[in-house]
């Protein structure tokens, strides 16, 4: 069994590109990833592609073959949908395909066009990742769902909106040098606390923006990389996926994310590492509180202790284990179906030293990507390591 190597990766500039079609966004990322990989596109044998709301935003279903065509490939192409974890789940499928020996070169990616339909329609589209009968019809929005989880966390473990503000401040600061990021603007704790409320206790700066963008990566076997003299030092050594009840009301705890616990445990076991071995992580901070759930589920913090990590400077770029050096979803942006692959690309670039924040983790060998869908009813975790 060969752990897939990341031979090339690319992300578009994340932001507001309302006039750009999904296929054009993905073509930019996919062609650049193939170019970076230095692989003959004829060798690609499959495409796994993440997308969540293409039917609602672009009236476009059946995106697998459309996106393969957009990057000039004639391969079996499968669209993967797991809400905001669509691309992470696509990565997992690509990893399994390579490990199973079914392909030597697989393209994985994702794209989302969101801003063309406006904030209200995008909020509506995102809400369909929740339970329509029991949540959406009770007025649940995604900020609302995470607000329910945040309030429950504060009630059970303590913590405050000010603690969450430190997460937003950190991720905005991390994104300042990331040219792909949607928001490159320093903010203060006061800015975050004074921002308009979206769903109490969460405000504007607790929430990631609505984003257009795409990401792609080319995965290959160690043997193929050696044979073709590719520069591909980073391998995906562990993959994990977990699930949970779709509706919050059906879960025993509102302030825990067991789907991510399961995904992390599986990925760590698969890679033969533990939380203490991880140098840094890109985690799914669609809302500030989500970063807290992520770093607790990844085993970096005990339950109830992740809330203080950013405030205490442990997850900042000069901290012991930096979290979201890209700026996270909060500042980098969150084109839903692309996010999991953008995280993969970020981790690979931080490990190979080519990311603008790589100086924060100069001798790192192990990085993790955590991609969550809905209110963490789907989660993928991938462990990436620098190989000899």
């Amino acid at each position: 069994m060969s752990d897939p190597r990341i031979a090339g990766a690319s992300v578009t500039k994340f932001g507001k590109h309302p006039e750009r079609t999904g296929r054009d966004l993905f073509a930019e990322a996919g062609l650049e990833a193939l170019s970076q990989a230095g692989i003959d596109p004829e060798d690609a044998e499959a495409l796994y592609y993440g997308n969540f709301m293409g039917e609602l935003a672009e009236h476009q279903g059946h995106q697998g073959p459309l996106m393969a065509e957009a990057i000039g490939l004639d391969v079996p192409a499968t669209r993967v949908e797991a809400a905001c974890a669509s691309a992470g789940t696509a990565v997992r499928e690509a990893v399994k395909t390579i490990r199973n020996g079914e392909a030597e070169v697989v393209v994985v990616g994702g794209a989302e066009r969101m801003t063309n339909i406006g904030t209200a329609a995008a909020t509506d589209a995102l809400a369909i990742a929740a339970d329509d009968l029991y949540e959406v019809r009770a007025g649940m929005t995604f900020p609302g769902a995470y607000a329910l989880m945040a309030r429950s966390y504060f009630d059970q473990y303590g913590g405050s909106h000010e603690d969450l503000a430190h997460i937003a401040v950190k991720n905005h600061e991390h994104a300042l040098v990331n040219e792909h990021a949607q928001i490159q603007q320093e903010i203060t704790v006061e800015d975050a606390l004074e921002a308009p409320t979206i769903a109490t206790p969460l405000g504007l700066y607790d929430s990631c923006p609505i984003t257009d963008g795409a990401a792609a990566a080319v995965l290959t076997t160690e043997a193929y990389a050696e044979e073709h003299d590719l520069d591909a030092p980073v391998a995906i050594t562990g993959t994990g996926q977990g699930g949970d009840n779709l509706a919050l009301q059906d879960r025993p705890h509102l302030a825990q994310t067991p789907a991510a616990d399961k995904a992390a445990e599986e990925a760590y076991d698969d890679a033969g590492v533990g939380p203490d071995d991880v140098d840094f992580a890109e985690v799914h901070d669609c809302f500030t509180i989500a970063e807290v759930f992520a770093i607790e589920s990844l085993g970096f913090y005990e339950r109830g202790e992740g809330i203080a990590a950013a405030r205490d400077g442990e997850t900042t770029r000069d901290g012991d284990r930096p979290i979201n050096l890209s700026g996270g979803l909060k500042a980098k942006g969150h084109p839903v179906g692309a996010t999991g692959v953008a995280q993969l690309a970020t981790v690979a670039w931080l490990l190979d030293g080519s990311h603008p924040r790589a100086d924060a983790v100069p001798d790192s060998t192990v990085g993790v990507a955590h991609n969550a869908g809905g209110t963490v009813a789907s989660t993928t975790v991938h462990v990436m390591e620098v190989q000899e």
Partner: protein
């Protein structure tokens, strides 16, 4: 979205609450769920029976939503909460309370109300 066709057991469940005979489904091991369910997702038991919902529950968490979807445009700001009714929890809109006064632990009853924007039925909680 105005629902044209009925959603099977979901609408029947709302009917049951409206007529004061609200219920939930319970498996042999005491796990509670709302319909439609054919199996307990926690223990795989398929022997589910309808049990009367308790008359009151407690707010487990709540949020006042100020940025709504278009279907709740005229409802906003509104309070969405999850209330704990023992073996089962329910999501609903909190009514008849100032949003600033809603708190975890508040005792509420279950009712069916109307959404302001669309006029569709919705689960609502009122203080008891």
């Amino acid at each position: 979205m105005t629902e044209s066709a009925q959603d099977g057991e979901y609408d029947e469940w709302l009917d049951s609450i409206e007529s004061g005979e609200g219920y939930y489904l319970e498996c042999s091991n005491g796990h509670g769920w709302l319909p439609p369910r054919r199996v307990c997702p926690r223990c795989h038991d398929q022997d589910l029976s309808a049990v009367d919902l308790p008359e009151s529950g407690e707010i487990a968490s709540h949020t006042t939503i100020t940025v709504p979807t278009p279907q709740f445009e005229d409802d906003a700001p509104y309070v969405t909460a999850i209330a704990d009714f023992g073996p089962v929890s329910v999501t609903g809109l909190v009514r008849d309370v100032d949003p600033d006064d809603v708190a975890i632990g508040d005792v509420v009853g279950l009712d069916v109300g109307e959404r302001v924007t669309t006029g569709d039925r919705a689960v609502v909680f009122r203080p008891r």
